[in-house]
Symmetry: C2
């Protein structure tokens, strides 16, 4: 299988030679006046013999009148997505971030994301459902739903996702039995909070999740831990890992793939693949946290260097360049198959070696 992979600067990383495995042009838009501008940051899970992805699909209006900029958003009163436009001559209009449209201090998004299910037998060739599985449908999702993570507990798939609106960036929860239709369970972490990963097993009789609040005034961006009696209400917040000065994750960090159990040289533990950001140039890389099997607030190890970082052309260029960002991985033996979004535009896959990841922890 090695021949399937393009060369990487890291021996331990085997990028699929057919990357990106999903491109915007492959997807049918959810409506004729929209175009798909991104398919990235999928949740990933094994279901029997299949790999199922829940894709984040970003769409933008296909035609914007000359001299105007547009932001698609869900209107809770109409119950549908509408397109709001501003003349480019609007005072205070700021378009410097390709993802954003800032008007006099209020921030809107240039695209709106929904989730689409995709299925594969080999893990590389995916069949994408023609219609959205889950779309913005609440005032707190007015700017879209983003970055789904899938945690299977019993027969239920719990999907937490970023709910974006003018009220802030929060994390909400939905459940599903088929990843095609969902039930909403509201906002589980108030803004600013994203990059939540729910552990797939109870510990100490409770559910657990890593989350990423964003302190203001005092405090550095950090991954926190919370626990819950019912997956809906969360408490017992503890700091797990902060951004590290002078390292690859010095600016921001946040959860990535849903943690999975590993045997770390004879010791049972959780492996949590997370993302770290550094500035100059702004770069999103992946690393790993090794967490205690019974108390995931105890950090046993953390990647000294990234386990995956932007170096392929589709990672170095794109809608928002220099980004490798995961919401899901599949692990079996030494294989850690990471599904990830590249440059906020396309979906890729890379196989990593668990032994290499563990060897790189400090």
């Amino acid at each position: 299988m090695l021949s399937w992979y393009a060369v990487s600067s890291q021996d331990s990383v085997r990028r699929y030679a057919g990357n990106p495995i999903l491109l915007p042009a492959q997807l049918t838009p959810s409506r004729p006046d929209f175009e798909v501008v991104g398919v990235f940051n999928p949740g990933a899970i094994r279901v029997g013999e299949e790999t199922v992805l829940l894709l984040r699909v970003a769409e933008a209006p296909r035609e914007v009148p000359d001299g105007y900029v547009a932001s698609p958003m869900y209107d809770p009163e109409l119950g549908e997505i509408v397109v709001r436009t501003w003349p480019k001559s609007t005072p205070g209009l700021d378009l410097t971030d390709s993802r954003l449209l800032v008007v006099a201090g209020d921030t809107f998004l240039t695209s709106i994301s929904h989730f689409r299910r995709a299925r594969s037998v080999d893990g590389f060739q995916f069949q994408v459902d023609p219609v959205p599985a889950f779309s913005a449908g609440h005032a707190l999702e007015a700017f879209g739903v983003e970055d789904p993570r899938i945690t299977r507990i019993g027969d239920i798939y719990w999907v937490n996702y970023t709910a974006v609106s003018g009220a802030g960036i929060a994390t909400a929860l939905a459940s599903s039995r088929d990843l095609a239709s969902f039930e909403r369970h509201g906002v589980i972490f108030s803004p600013p909070n994203r990059d939540v990963t729910i552990f797939p097993e109870q510990m100490q009789g409770r559910y657990w999740a890593l989350h990423r609040p964003m302190p203001e005034d005092i405090g550095r961006p950090a991954i926190w831990l919370a626990s819950s009696p019912d997956l809906l209400a969360w408490g017992g917040h503890r700091l797990v890992a902060s951004a590290r000065v002078g390292m690859w994750d010095d600016l921001k960090i946040g959860g990535g793939a849903v943690p999975f159990r590993v045997d770390a040289n004879g010791r049972q533990a959780w492996l949590a693949i997370y993302h770290g950001v550094t500035a100059s140039p702004l770069t999103y890389s992946l690393g790993a946290l090794l967490l205690d099997a019974e108390d995931p607030g105890i950090v046993l190890g953390r990647s000294r260097k990234p386990i995956l970082f932007p170096e392929a052309p589709y990672e170095l260029n794109g809608f928002f360049a220099n980004v490798t960002f995961t919401c899901g991985a599949h692990a079996a033996g030494d294989l850690v198959r990471v599904y990830y979004g590249a440059s906020d535009g396309v979906t890729c896959v890379a196989d990593l070696s668990l032994a290499h990841i563990l060897a790189g922890l400090a």
Copy 2:
């Protein structure tokens, strides 16, 4: 009793003529090398015939070597409060905010707060316990505990408070049967979150709290609502009220006194006294939210103008000027007796008229 009150520009506000009722000089420091620099923002509750305050007491090192600045902080490894010092010549040292000490981007506080119990029969003359009731005792409280709110449910006083540390500004929970000794229950709202008020009754079989996350990138400071099965884990977050452009609460808002039930012209409802901040000059005032009796996420009314704002000398001047800030009030009939901190330094009391508050809602 009217003669006890100094005149206010608002007929509906009667400030106690003996304000401030508590000054730093009246309190014994918790240790000989510290001085009390503030006694403010008390939680307040009626216990039988008494009014009990849980005072926020801020202390700073009495003597700092010439040419140095100091920050007191709890050291979790030593299990005690230590004093950290920096030469005033330290590059990047920023002392522009009297409350803060910023060193190369890291923020520390110039004082550390604990809680002290005070009791009164008449509601004006308070007997202050000579020793702290609750002090920093956890890594997430390293910079102190602040702004307690007391909610009585059955025989238990639940006290939520701001837990400040280098990791951020969070809200933690403790419980007590006498407001003199406490049991910790950890962080219930991760940073950035403060100004939490827990409702004193269950609704729909759940506990409820207003909280104040601080969105970054997208979203304005706003009061949110959450519910809980057990007071420890919180979910179902909803937006309740945002800062209002061009009004007295246009910059920031947050919870104040623990909400209490009122009869609003024949309709049962909750009254939540909150604080609003406006800039130029930076001013902290109080207003009210009228919330539905069974679903406190439904806003029935909101103060068009502040119900109390800085105008007395002790409010216009002080450690951090132009602040009226409440953590507790006592209501009976038309009387709403508000205990509040003035200018982050002293404790005051004012009697407001419920009828006036209700008449000023829009």
